[in-house]
């Protein structure tokens, strides 16, 4: 575009007064215009600063809002964390409840079922929460994607705008240049009475320029807004990433919870099976003194020993019982015999009674006879009194006296017999009483005897045990007295060391086991586990030390043997062999230790500096190596030549 011809300024010396005045006037005009421009620019800059101040205030407000938002978010985050903690605490409480329930497993099965239902509900809740969280994540992801797209669009728009702004700025610069040119032209033309058309054009141009300037400002505003939006979106993005991380953490915790729930279920099943076993075995009914299965086993062993001892005593008692029953039979036989004897006695008593009765009858008869005789005697006396003859009286008195004597004898005899009978009666009664008492108390007595026998047997066994113990003690004491030999061992011996290590390990494992059992409810790992692992590590270090020792020993042996081999080869074959890298072997003859042959087994080549020592080297090499392919023969020849050369 060609606007106006360039004004060519002439030198001041060549100008006249009018021209100079004009020049001054133009310069004054320029100055005033520049001043005006300066003021305009100053005003515009003031406006710009004002607008920037406004923008700054706006952005500050936005920043404050954003800070408030972040604070709210932070608080929300803390709340969420607290909620999370409370959520974490919830299963622990459940577990505690479960542990308490475990103790009342049998009696409170219904409650356990309720708790299980609750757990299921919680699991459902958890799953629903999980679903919610996943949905929220998905929605957030979608939002992020949307916002990303918007961001991208905005960025592209901003880029476009930036490009447009640049383009417009360039245009503005061009226009400004043009304006400055036009102004200069105008000033020059004002003197030349420029046409109004050009002025109109300039006004239009000025208007368009102003419009473009406004448009550029609007674009700048837009740009700033978009930048703030971008900032917001970035902040949102950061917040989303934080939320994402938190979500991931929650997800992992949720997974952990699921795994723990599964573990808990499996443990519950195991517990139920163990409880079943316990109820099957009836361990619950046992005493509380059995704290662990070892106690039961030891008690069982004790009981087995006691059982064997009781079996022995039972067999002994059985034998004794048999003996006693035999004795009882014998006693029964004796009793029967005694009963028979008693019967005999009774019969004899009856006979004696009969005899007594007869004797009584005889007595009565004799008494009656006596009466009759007395009557007869009285009759005779009456007759005698009538007759009164002295000889007859003497005879009669004699007869009477004889009769009297006879009666007296008979009465005495009777008395004696009566006494005898009464005595025998007493004896029989006494005997009968005794036998009856014996019969009644016999069984009682037998029982008493059995009991006494048992008591005695117990006492006997106890005394026997006591005697055995005492005998053992005596034996021990005698052996102690006889013990003149001591068996000694070094305290620091391999066996005791091994025992000590094993004992230590056992103690650590027991502690670890007890700690783990006690802390099964909590996630914390007990210190004893660390101690045990430390101990294992020590043992492994020892093993490594011994393995290293072994390898060094083997290496030593290997080196020794290889040296022996090399020495043997050197002394027998006359070449010292040195194995170099890459399959090369250096042969040094014992006759020429300064020279050597290097055989490359990989490339199948031979190098040597012996060709300068042995004059016929080439011919020997040609003959033995190339023609015949006999390298050992060649080496032998070389050795022979070197020996010949070494000879004085």
């Amino acid at each position: 575009m060609s606007l106006t011809p360039q004004i060519k300024e002439k030198p001041l010396e060549s100008l006249d007064a009018d021209q100079l005045r004009r020049r001054v006037l133009t310069l004054q005009y320029k100055y005033t215009t520049l001043q005006n421009e300066y003021e305009i620019s100053k005003l515009s800059s003031e406006r710009e600063t004002y607008s920037l101040q406004n923008k700054y205030d706006k952005s500050m407000n936005e920043l404050e809002n954003a800070l408030k938002d972040t604070k709210i978010l932070y608080e929300e985050n803390i709340k969420l964390k607290e909620e999370l903690k409370s959520k974490d605490a919830l299963p622990k409480e459940d577990e505690k409840i479960i542990t308490t329930l475990r103790t009342q497993v049998v009696s409170l099965k219904n409650e356990v079922n309720l708790k299980e239902q609750r757990i299921v509900e919680l699991a459902h809740k958890l799953s629903s929460k999980q679903n919610e969280v996943t949905n929220a994540i998905e929605s957030m992801k979608l939002e992020i994607e949307g916002s990303g797209n918007i961001l991208h669009q905005h960025e592209t728009q901003i880029n476009k705008h930036v490009e447009e702004i640049r383009y417009l700025q360039q245009e503005l610069k061009e226009k400004e240049n043009l304006i400055s040119e036009l102004r200069s032209v105008q000033t020059s033309a004002s003197h030349r009475n420029n046409s109004t058309e050009e002025l109109q054009d300039l006004a239009v141009l000025n208007k368009t320029l102003k419009e473009q300037l406004n448009y550029a400002k609007e674009l700048e505003d837009m740009n700033l807004k978009q930048a703030t939006e971008l900032k917001k979106l970035r902040q949102n993005n950061d917040v989303q990433s934080l939320l994402k991380k938190e979500n991931e953490l929650l997800q992992s915790k949720l997974d952990q919870l699921n795994s723990l729930q599964k573990k808990f279920e499996s443990l519950e099943m195991e517990n139920i099976s163990l409880q079943e076993k316990i109820t099957q075995w009836g361990i619950v009914r046992l005493d509380g003194k059995f704290k662990n299965p070892n106690d039961v086993i030891t008690e069982l062993n004790m009981l087995q020993r006691e059982n064997t001892f009781l079996l022995d005593t039972n067999s002994k008692l059985q034998i004794d019982f048999n003996q006693m029953s035999m004795l009882n039979d014998e006693m029964a036989i004796e009793r029967n015999q005694l009963l028979d004897l008693n019967k005999d006695y009774e019969t004899s008593i009856l006979n004696l009674k009969r005899l007594n009765h007869e004797l009584e009858q005889q007595k009565l008869l004799s008494f009656e006879e006596c009466k009759l005789l007395r009557q007869q005697l009285e009759e005779f006396e009456e007759q005698d009194d009538k007759k009164k003859t002295p000889g007859d009286q003497v005879n009669a008195s004699n007869i009477i006296e004889g009769y009297k004597n006879q009666t007296e004898d008979l009465t005495n005899e009777l008395k004696r017999l009566n006494e005898e009978l009464s005595k025998t009666d007493d004896k029989i009664q006494k005997r009968r009483k005794i036998t009856n008492d014996l019969g009644i108390s016999y069984s009682q007595r037998l029982n008493e005897l059995i009991l006494e026998n048992k008591k005695l047997e117990r006492l006997l066994s106890a005394t026997k045990n006591h005697a055995n113990i005492l005998e053992q003690k005596i034996l021990d004491l005698t052996s102690l007295k006889e013990k003149k030999v001591r068996i000694l061992q070094l305290r620091d011996n391999p066996l005791l060391k091994e025992h000590y290590i094993r004992k230590e390990k056992l103690a650590l494992l027991e502690k670890e086991n007890s700690d783990l059992l006690s802390g099964i409810e909590t996630d914390a790992i007990p210190r004893s586990v660390y101690d045990r692992i430390k101990h294992d590590m020590k043992l492994l270090e020892k093993e490594i030390f011994s393995a290293n020792k072994k390898t060094t020993r083997l290496k030593e042996v290997f080196n020794k043997k290889s040296l022996e081999f090399i020495e043997a080869v050197n002394s027998l074959l006359g070449f010292k062999l040195e194995f170099l890298a890459h399959g090369k072997v250096k042969l040094v003859s014992c006759y020429q230790p300064n020279k050597y042959i290097i055989a490359d087994l990989q490339s199948n080549t031979l190098k040597s500096d012996l060709d300068k020592v042995i004059p016929e080297w080439e011919t020997l090499f040609q003959l033995y190596v190339i023609e015949k392919g006999e390298l050992p023969a060649f080496l032998s020849q070389v050795k022979l030549r070197l020996w010949e050369l070494s000879q004085p």
Partner: protein, 196 residues
């Protein structure tokens, strides 16, 4: 008997103990074979440990046994091979030491030449080496340890490093008697008892 010959005899016996313990530990694979190195002794190639710890342990035992032998307080030395897992004694190598001074023998009868003693020791050590052929195989190699017991008089001086032990007998074990050897002061017999 003069002190010099007694000391010489005791040294021979303790030396024999050292080589027999080493041979047993090697033959029964209580310690790995690479721990042993061949040495010439009694015109035999015998194996001796190179493990410093084990060497120190054997040396400490034999030093004290030597003292007890000189004092006539030690009558028996026992090497027990024990299972590490259950502490059960698998083999029990017993060396009886009978002092001639206890038997009231005359000095002339007991003057045994050194060559004769060495010949007898060779025979015993050969028997110990050959015992691998009839002894049961120790299956868990590396799972065995050993202990040395010294049978002394009750009035013997016992250093603090030593303590009392049980006899570690093998119940219902099979026993095999080896040859014996004699010096001018002692006669030493060997026997192995193993779990059959």
């Amino acid at each position: 008997m003069d002190l010099i010959s007694l000391k010489g005899s005791t040294r021979i016996v303790t030396e024999f103990f050292e080589y027999s313990i080493n041979s047993i530990l090697y033959q029964r694979a209580v310690y790995p074979a690479e721990d042993f190195a061949t040495v010439k002794k009694y015109d035999l190639s015998l194996l001796k440990t190179q493990d410093t710890e084990l060497k120190q342990y054997i040396r400490e035992i034999l030093r004290q046994v030597h003292r007890w032998l000189l004092g006539g307080k030690c009558h028996q030395l026992v090497l027990c091979i024990v299972d590490k897992d259950d502490g059960e004694t698998i083999e029990r190598w017993k060396f009886n030491v009978d002092s001639h001074s206890n038997k009231n023998d005359t000095d002339d009868d007991m003057n045994i030449p050194l060559e004769e003693t060495q010949k007898e020791i060779r025979a015993v050590l050969r028997q110990i080496t050959a015992s691998v052929t009839f002894l049961p195989e120790l299956k868990n190699e590396g799972n065995y340890t050993f202990n040395v017991l010294a049978y002394t008089d009750s009035n013997a001086n016992v250093p603090l490093e030593w303590t009392d032990s049980d006899s570690k007998e093998i119940a219902k074990g099979e026993s095999v008697q080896f040859k014996s050897f004699g010096t001018s002061a002692y006669s030493v017999g060997a026997e192995v008892t193993y779990k059959f």
